[in-house]
Symmetry: C2
Subunit: 445 residues, 2 copies
């Protein structure tokens, strides 16, 4: 025990040294010839800090029986807020846009891996449950959020209250997917329902966001509002994308892989799969969905059993090939998420009460989704807990709200934005320990 603490302390020391060098010679100041804003030297140090940090956090959480992802989030929060105690050596990390791209590709790969591990047929079997879970998990937090808004901000317009409700609807499935993977529970029926519901949820969130943004923009500029045809088009686009992607994938990927397989070149299986994953993620983004939804759909379509038939996976399966890339990139996403948390938000006493009630609405609202789970012997509570995290999706909603205004006032004022940030932090941070507790209780029972 003593030895392990010493080891951890040594690793932390190396980590601080890396941070110091990052600050002293990092982004921008060191010159890779060419003179771009982002230098490879800066990125290298940033990667070392983030990867070491992720492992330190993960190892600490492992010691206390918590999912590693919690440690990655916490270490991110710690790194991101050291400037509050005067230690600003890690500040350059926050402005390193390349890291953000690495992080985004990391979470895309995570959902691709999760999609690969899920079977389309199995997903379809829980389709109705997922639809009900998603619907309840959107409607309840929406009205709860609306209510909290109306109660706390009576002087604001009804649209502010509605928008506040809308920010509570989204589910950020990255955290839950990672926890389920860490706990080896990704292959359960509950996991499939959560994943399916999160995809449907994203489509619903997209529609809600489009509708309310359209209405609010329409309030300001008469005639420029969103027509019902426009709303229908958004809905149609999203559904067409998901249906089309799965159908096209089912039809096209066998010939595609057959082509790829005949073209002898190193790493064909890995590269063609990555190309399919990235294309799907990009297409999802194009129709306004989260890129991770596309990556998940791509993973669903690429069925391991089938590409084995095509003679692609001679030595290593696709999942094995993807694992090291995921090990490298996925922690970057979670540390980066933690990094963006400014814990000063918790110090603003005038909004902390509002924030906590909003958080309660967000958590309780998603528990209603548990009633959407059909069938016997299912752990409804676990599904409800898995739907809790809002992650970056909630922030994106709030961000858009902050950019819209009614009668010169932003729909989401800075104070309300801080409250939303607190809600996102809490819902994101409590999910790993709570899910872990739920599943380990089940295993004992």
């Amino acid at each position: 025990m003593k030895k392990q603490v010493l080891r951890l302390a040594l690793l932390c020391l190396g980590f601080v040294v890396a941070g110091w060098t990052l600050n002293a010679f990092g982004s921008g100041s060191m010159g890779a010839p060419g003179g771009h804003g982002t230098t490879v030297a800066g990125v290298l140090v940033a990667l070392v800090v983030i990867l070491l940090g992720a492992k330190i956090g993960g190892a600490c959480c492992n010691r206390f029986g918590q999912p590693e992802v919690l440690g990655e989030l916490v270490i991110g929060v710690v790194i991101g807020n050291l400037f509050l105690v005067g230690l600003d050596i890690f500040e350059p990390l926050k402005t390193e846009s390349v890291l953000e791209i690495f992080a985004e590709i990391g979470v895309i790969l995570l959902l691709f891996e999760v999609g690969l591990e899920s079977r389309l047929g199995e997903m379809m079997k829980v389709g109705l449950s997922a639809l009900l879970v998603a619907t309840l998990g959107v409607i309840t937090p929406f009205f709860l959020g609306w209510g909290v808004g109306a109660w706390f901000l009576p002087e604001s317009s009804i649209f502010v209250h509605i928008f506040l409700g809308a920010t509570l609807t989204a589910t950020s499935v990255g955290i839950t997917a990672r926890v389920l993977k860490d706990l080896n529970k990704i292959d359960t029926k509950e996991a499939r329902i959560i994943l399916g519901a999160a995809v449907i949820d994203d489509v619903m969130g997209l529609i809600i966001l489009a509708v309310f943004s359209g209405i609010i923009i329409g309030l300001g500029h008469a005639g420029e509002g969103l027509s019902s045809a426009g709303i229908l088009w958004i809905v149609a686009k999203a559904i067409l994308f998901l249906g089309g992607a799965i159908l096209a994938g089912q039809l096209a990927y066998r010939p595609l892989f057959r082509i790829a397989n005949r073209l002898r070149a190193g790493g064909m299986l890995l590269i063609s799969s990555l190309a399919i994953c990235f294309t799907a993620a990009w297409l999802a983004n194009l129709v306004g969905l989260a890129p991770i939804v596309g990556a998940f759909a791509a993973g669903l379509v690429l069925d391991e059993v089938q590409y084995n038939d095509l003679g692609m996976a001679k030595k290593q399966s696709l999942a094995e090939l993807l694992r090291p890339i995921g090990l490298f990139l996925i922690p970057i996403f979670f540390v980066y998420m933690g990094l963006k948390v400014d814990i000063r938000a918790f110090g603003q006493s005038q909004i902390i009460v509002f924030a906590l009630i909003l958080t309660a609405a967000a958590i309780i609202g998603k528990q209603a989704s548990a009633f959407g789970v059909l069938g016997k012997g299912m752990d409804r509570f676990a599904v409800g807990l898995g739907m809790i995290p809002r992650g970056e999706v909630g922030l994106i909603f709030a961000n858009i709200g902050a950019g819209l205004s009614i009668a010169g006032q932003p729909v989401i004022s800075p104070d309300v934005f801080s409250a939303v940030v607190i809600m996102v932090i809490i819902t994101t941070m409590i999910t790993p320990p709570v899910l872990k507790w739920k599943f380990s209780r089940n295993d004992k029972a």
Copy 2:
């Protein structure tokens, strides 16, 4: 055969469609929320284009028995110059700075892998040969380049001629390392000599560059020239780094890995190795060496046999874990290198003769290094051929020369720069087929 052409055509079609979308919705225009210049959507499409392109090029080269890396370079040149025939759909790729970082990390990983496959002891055995090869491979092209400069540019200052000689000294080992890997020749004595010589070469190039830049800057500003103490310091720094890194690595990495091993967290072996590799690459950059030299040194230090003893590699060896990450990132480097080639340089008739003679000097000059190979039964010619490519290192030299001036005139004028670019393109592109030809002739003999 017909079928394969059809398949290739189909893949190319998908590739053009990806390019079109890249242009229509790519970098900058598509909005990942947050409003950064580089969006994840743009990067995703760029990655799809580059990865598919690399595989198409690699597969074509495989058909004709050429190393895949040649195909990656050629496809890069093709993509990069399609704008000449009015097809500018791939132009956004060139300004995607994230791609450049991916490419740089790709080549860092390549040299790290090569370092892992080399044994420090084996490298030491050919140390004297490598030193002689490097020395001859620096001195001969240097004087040849000087001579070509004096002959073609008699009106220029002697420093211009010297600088031109200096641009011919560097060796870009990335290409050769990749070809040797593609041909399964990385474990030969010749390969070890080339790799060792390339590292020493980089140190020598660094010194030459520093010395001549110092002298030229000193010409302009009396008293600001490089002192001999300054030169000594540059030399000392480089040697200290390499020696220190290998020594420190030998002493420190066992305890480091032991710490890492006891901290239970997923992917510890991979992540701690990547952290060591990135740190070494960054340190090399810090002392003015190429990052790949640091990555190679890190790979040399991490000896597979030894970390197996530490109980790290339970399921997969480090080389196996790194392979997929390399498959993903390494082709990006070579396609990106091709992408930066502007073939219009070949159209300028007034400089093409000068460029071709410079290229001849560059190639012949490096053949002299073959005489540095000691011992019997060695393929001296193969070593000389392996030292040919100048790659990005030659361009970096020329770039620095273009930034220096004597009496108001840049040391490397735009015309001379174009000639250097042509020299770099030719030396880089001929190496894969020529090395392949040499080794397959040996195998037949």
